[in-house]
Symmetry: D2
Subunit: 271 residues, 4 copies
């Protein structure tokens, strides 16, 4: 189990395999653990780097509120620690926001970028959805019902009714009932509340795939269209009948697009 | 101000104008008042009938939990009271659910049907979103943030930032802070929790328009596609860049489709 | 049967009913006759004005090639003839293009505008589709197969197989086999080949509804999105599982939206 | 240059690289040559097998009309020739139709399946579009304008105006002016005219990705939704602002999805 020191914090990370490095940046409620089932497949061809951002998983809890800027510097700190000069990044949701800000600041370090279910701005709508999350944080079941259904598609939820029921029990009883966890969730949510990279997107010229889901009720597909319109070198893929946690609902498509793109040798086709 | 007696309850209704009667069935958080600005336009050509369902607006609060069956009978009661034998119905969201159940039971009384942002079933996903609403009901701000943003499109929310801010103040301080109102909201939400008319849709053979919104994050467009697929005589219209409360975000389109359709004389075109 | 003189040409028109005037501008292959089944419904509340543009229906055949400018002036000529100072316009496809150019030039004469399946520009793609039509014009069956299927949705075509078969016979044997008709079709097609009003759309501030179809394979929905984005006072409606000739595939929706919108008294709603 | 004998015909094929075999089945107007720029990327990890089906590229011209059944048997013949027992198949358009029929007949030979812009049936609509192609076949420019624009998105066509102009010259002067080529195109088109595998799709239980394009005006996205609904083990991906020849308009996405999926080791994820 590996950690490195960032300022006063211990940041947990995991490295698997060899080859071109590929960093995963987690969604807000996720951790390195969330990628367990994908480790083998990714690390067969790439060096997979997982990280718990500040307030995620096994990394330190923050001592006070912060913005995503610190997450960007933590990512930079990890790459320095690992002496990695150039890599590709996959970010989903919150992790995609950190990825975009990292790429904008350290563009020369990034080979390729893959963004799943990411926005370019925490708009008024998303801000108040975040407020709803925070206001429900003192009641585990309320927190579950406020945050979990909306990150899945109704179709998936209906299909996996039993599985979701078990998951609810685990989350309500073991996770959302921890004051420490909930405090970190509140800080993470707040750290994105002023996020807005729209005007800087046109500066980013890294080969990028942007993936959105038809049934994404947190970061709707129009947000990903906006990202692709503004970026210089980005293309859009849409997943029908899929929700916000697309890597979860469509693991095979997630892995296919990601592995395929990251390992392409040539990107300049005539058309 | 008119009332009629349904069992132990006083049910409030309003009637405007003359002509072919057209009944509006409200969404869950709405009341007769919500249609104020539409009264003139509708009542120029039709007899507009508004009703506060049980636990809505000026109608009685329920004495215990119930299902939407009672709302269906309340609608029937009102029509008997008004001696109306045949009419058209517009239902939105919760009101659309009541409309579908009414039409299924009293098919011969319905001339035409218009459904905005309605589902055919409270599936597992929607059920838990309802639970989130109920669990937030003891905190006015939590209730606002849990229920309000999701009924608008992000685009509308961003465009009407100031207006939404005022609305938030009113709702948080004057509406969601009333224990009586919140209790009625909980009962209304619960009354839909077992709703499922999917298998009966094919029995309904009333000329119907079904309108869905691209950015409906409560009753996503796939639900309206399902209704149209199963019904015998229904057609679908989609409103891009519009949220769940489409009559609010697109009043002109709402009125156009509704008035136009209700007042068509002939419906049998060659194709 | 009414005609008026425009330059050297006889222009055929029809007027039905009384009330606020509403002018229909035909798609390229259409004529006043195409609206037969809608005359009663529209003329109950409005004065319906139909016109055969130059090279359409009973109007004169042109003596040489022209641009859509002449169609715009013909429309103006008709309104002068009828002493109409202000009216609403519905244009579909080619007729929508003429409508947009008319509105831009004579904005003060237009009350409301409804555009079905219209583009703002004949782009390179549409230009060559027009070329395909012209190049097939010497063979009636080729012309049928090149122009007709693409103006319907595959779903409609499959549903109306028998009806389409009869239509094919009529069109191939009685219409497309006429050299005179085909020459007029070629001129009409060519008259739109330089059409481009994109940069002028923002000047138009007339209450407008723009309707597109999900299965429009001639003027795809993205074109109508563009129009709505650029115009000042336009809103978009989308018809799922519908093709280019939406008035044909969805007569009830066509009439509902059109009649409803044209006859709204008030257009300024708070939101 | 390799050939094998199928009945009286010489069938041309090409094999590149080593590893798990992956067969490409061409769209109707394509040949082995169409994949030139993808050969290196695919053959780095897989044995890429290209084939000119009967009447395509360097393979024999057919002596009479046929159905796609013969193409299925030609594919089987090639695999026998190469002593390949199990492989993955990518088919696009016509090639996807052959792929589906091959998979249905020789299911045990297929590891994974990737279908780009494919239909399950030549419906009445597509049938007459094919007729339009055939009827334009005696005039090279007419053939170009009838067949080429519709296989691209309007956006691509506008973006690549110059490139398309050059392509037009080459195709009109060197390709569509050859009677031999046009006769083979007619036979290929006719060979699909009775194609209908809808009722057999549910028998196919091979891991499958189905990719459709938002601006596909030959095989619209609804056709791919149908395939995914009926097949047992298929998932859908949608490419916004992309036309029928998606491998051409989106080579990077084409390669990413294809290479990623074909080379996944594990396909059974919990969800």
């Amino acid at each position: 189990m590996s950690y490195f020191k960032f300022e006063e914090y211990d940041i947990h990370y995991e490295v698997y395999g060899m080859g071109q490095p590929l960093l995963f940046l987690n969604g807000i409620m996720m951790s390195c653990n969330s990628w367990k089932s994908f480790e083998n497949e990714i690390s067969r061809d790439n060096q997979l780097i997982l990280i718990d951002l500040l307030d995620q998983g096994k990394s330190s809890k923050a001592k006070s509120e912060y913005t995503q800027d610190i997450q960007v510097e933590i990512v930079k700190g990890l790459l320095d620690e690992l002496k990695i000069k150039k890599l590709s990044i996959m970010g989903t949701s919150y992790g995609g926001e950190v990825a975009l800000q990292f790429v904008h600041k350290y563009q020369s370090m990034v080979e390729k970028l893959v963004l799943f279910n990411t926005v370019a701005k925490t708009n008024a709508w998303l801000k108040e959805i975040g407020d709803a999350w925070n206001l429900a944080s003192n009641n585990p079941e309320a927190y579950y019902c406020t945050t979990i259904p909306v990150i899945y598609s109704p179709q998936f939820y209906e299909r996996k009714k039993e599985w979701m029921k078990n998951r609810k029990e685990v989350l309500v009883n073991n996770v959302f009932s921890s004051k420490e966890f909930m405090d970190s969730m509140i800080r993470l949510t707040n750290s994105a509340s002023e996020y807005d990279i729209i005007d800087k997107l046109s500066d980013i010229n890294i080969p990028t795939l942007v993936i959105g889901s038809e049934q994404d009720h947190i970061t709707p597909i129009d947000e990903q269209k906006l990202i692709v319109d503004k970026m210089t070198n980005a293309q859009l893929i849409m997943l029908p009948q899929t929700g916000h946690a697309s890597f979860y609902e469509r693991p095979i498509i997630f892995l296919s697009i990601l592995k395929g793109f990251i390992n392409l040798e040539k990107l300049d086709y005539m058309v």
